[in-house]
């Protein structure tokens, strides 16, 4: 009760509200620029927090994180360029909606789902920090390996028409993930003497190359885009019927986001891909997925924004940063003499309450900031194609260079774009490749660490209860997808035979 009163008092405290609103605004801007990751966006405001009082400082950092995680979906929907790794799953249906002149609707769904996801995640953070923290501690290398395999298992349903092509694409992604230093011995692999490759290839470079650059290459030969009518360029929130339809994917996204968020290192990317996959599995409109499904936008956006809140559980409870962004937040806590752990909740309860209150304000202000900036973004992407393509290219160069201040990265993205064109021509789906790149390192490093722990005995993956559960779920997913595919194949063949018999 005391905490609640403190929270309510803080709601009308100017510095905290300013920190929340300012942080979200800055975060949305950073997240919307491809290459400017949430961690970079947070790192840029970190020096500002040194002179602030601890509560506002932590709120500024956390609100920036919330804004940046949402911001990544704006370019994903509007220009086929995920601003953050976690926005990759939004590209598929979000951009399809934009090309159908439904960009305003897609942005409305992403904002609505993002705010709901953020508020749900915050509720979980407040209510379930203690039990969720226990889940985080129970994760072993075997469980992380199994989590990676579970992530990969959705390739079967992301593969489109050909499972083999999806597999080929996924393996290509896994191959890219092996570039760089070996996770166990540190031996360089596939670097060809280039020091820039020693740290591996950042997944965002592959995403920008495959989605955005290859789209630009392909659009160069496409006809002029159709003129979008005035009404289609407005931000549109879902109406009553659509809101009801989105409830199921939002529940799936929020649940998966909550569980994935508390696992250090799992992050929003796996959560958004898995939510997308589950939303399709349980949808009554499966055929719309990949062609502009509102559910295909709602599920990953809810998951992604839920993760932004629940990812704070391991940071606050144990001081374990599961991502670069969480590490910067941890740095912010330490700078102000706040030591994460169970005692943080007793000795610095005021800061924890300020953080929760700030996140609440941040999620609400996300809605208002979205209302202000999204119409401008919609207007921008409805400019003449020649200029829009030129500005997207300039944005890609600027954003990619910003990651490591490296022209090598820019050149790499151009080459990945060429690979993307060939993948499109060959009918190889891109999402499995992205999934392989994102999960490859996690799978390999935890697989090998597990075997080091067991002395080479693979039985360790069955002995670990969480790993066994996740691997069994992955097997069920794969079996389900294969059965559905086999059924569809047999049905198609039977229909052809019947047609042939009818003459």
């Amino acid at each position: 009760m005391e905490s609640l009163l403190l929270g309510l008092t803080l709601l009308v405290t100017t510095p905290l509200v300013l920190a929340a609103v300012g942080g979200v605004s800055w975060g949305v801007l950073g997240g919307a620029l491809p290459g400017i990751s949430p961690s970079i966006t947070m790192a840029l405001v970190l020096p500002l927090t040194y002179g602030m009082e601890p509560g506002s400082a932590i709120v500024l950092l956390a609100a920036t994180y919330v804004g940046a995680e949402y911001g990544g979906s704006i370019p994903a929907i509007l220009i086929n360029t995920p601003g953050t790794n976690a926005a990759a799953a939004t590209v598929l249906d979000g951009y399809a909606m934009q090309r159908q002149g439904r960009g305003g609707e897609a942005l409305g769904i992403s904002l609505y789902s993002g705010v709901l996801g953020g508020l749900f995640g915050l509720t979980m953070l407040v209510v379930l920090t203690e039990p969720l923290a226990r889940v985080a501690l129970a994760f072993t290398p075997m469980a992380y390996f199994a989590l990676g395999i579970l992530g990969l298992s959705i390739i079967a349903s992301l593969s489109g028409e050909s499972l083999l092509k999806g597999l080929a694409s996924g393996v290509l992604g896994l191959m890219v993930a092996t570039v760089g230093s070996d996770p166990v011995s540190g031996v360089p692999r596939f670097v060809f003497g280039r020091p820039e490759l020693l740290d591996g290839i950042a997944p965002i470079l592959i995403m920008v190359g495959l989605f955005a650059v290859s789209e630009l290459y392909q659009q160069a030969s496409a006809a002029e885009w159709r003129k979008t009518a005035g009404a289609e360029t407005r931000l549109r929130f879902p109406d009553g019927a659509l809101r009801r339809r989105l409830i199921k994917p939002q529940i799936l996204g929020a649940t998966i986001g909550t569980l994935e968020g508390v696992m250090p290192g799992a992050g929003g990317t796996i959560a958004s891909f898995m939510s997308y996959n589950e939303a399709r599995r349980w949808s009554r409109h499966k055929e719309e997925f990949g062609h502009g499904s509102p559910e295909g936008v709602a599920a990953p956006e809810t998951a992604n924004n839920t993760v932004a809140a629940t990812a704070l559980v391991p940071v606050l409870s144990f001081g374990i940063p599961g991502s670069n962004s969480a590490a910067i937040l941890l740095g912010g806590l330490l700078v102000h003499g706040l030591i994460p752990g169970p005692r943080l909740f007793e000795e610095n309860a005021d800061v924890v309450v300020a953080l929760y209150t700030g996140l609440f304000v941040a999620n609400l202000s996300l809605l208002f900031i979205g209302l202000l900036i999204l119409p401008v973004c919609l207007w921008l992407v409805n400019r003449p194609k020649a200029y829009l393509m030129a500005f997207i290219y300039a944005l890609i160069f600027s954003g990619v260079y910003s990651i490591d201040h490296s022209l090598f990265d820019v050149a790499l993205v151009l080459v990945v774009g060429v690979a993307g064109v060939f993948m499109r021509l060959a009918g190889l789906p891109m999402l499995p490749a992205v999934l392989g790149v994102v999960l490859g390192y996690m799978i390999e490093s935890n697989y090998r660490r597990s075997l080091v722990l067991s002395g080479g005995d693979h039985g360790i993956f069955i002995e670990d209860a969480i790993a066994l559960g996740l691997l069994s779920t992955a097997m069920l997913f794969i079996a389900g997808s294969l059965t559905t595919r086999a059924y569809l194949f047999v049905r198609r063949r039977r229909r052809q035979s019947e047609r042939a018999a009818d003459g």
Partner: protein, 157 residues
Amino acid sequence: MVRQLTCSAILLLIAAGYYSVASQITRSALADEIGPAGLPVVYALVLATVALALAAKAVFRPLLLRTADATASAGEPTLGFLLRRAGGVFAIGVGYVLIVPLAGYFLTLIMVIAAMALYQGERTSARLATIAVAGAASFWLLFVQLLGIPMPSLWGA
């Protein structure tokens, strides 16, 4: 079918090249039982298997389902035209990478915006020049001034 077989052949080549490099990875004294080349070799073998399966499917599936190759629908660009146009955009990108260390971020960005717009059919005009300069200035303000990214400057200065 030809496109599918070409795709299989390219995947097989990638698998072979990747396997060849993977098998030359040096093994460190710190390496575990699997070693740094362990999973890469597996990936190469899986990709080769999938490529062969795709080739087999390309040959046998039309017989099973009695389907003809999909033909390009009217109005779609031909492969040659698509690759030529894409090559132009790629060349502009390569131009950016080569010129930006010399001319600096701001000037090169003006050139890129103007070149892309011209390539996409805009005509040389005062409007084009104004948009290119204003666009480059906006990016410079955002990335250099606001975000503090040290973009390449004129003559590397």
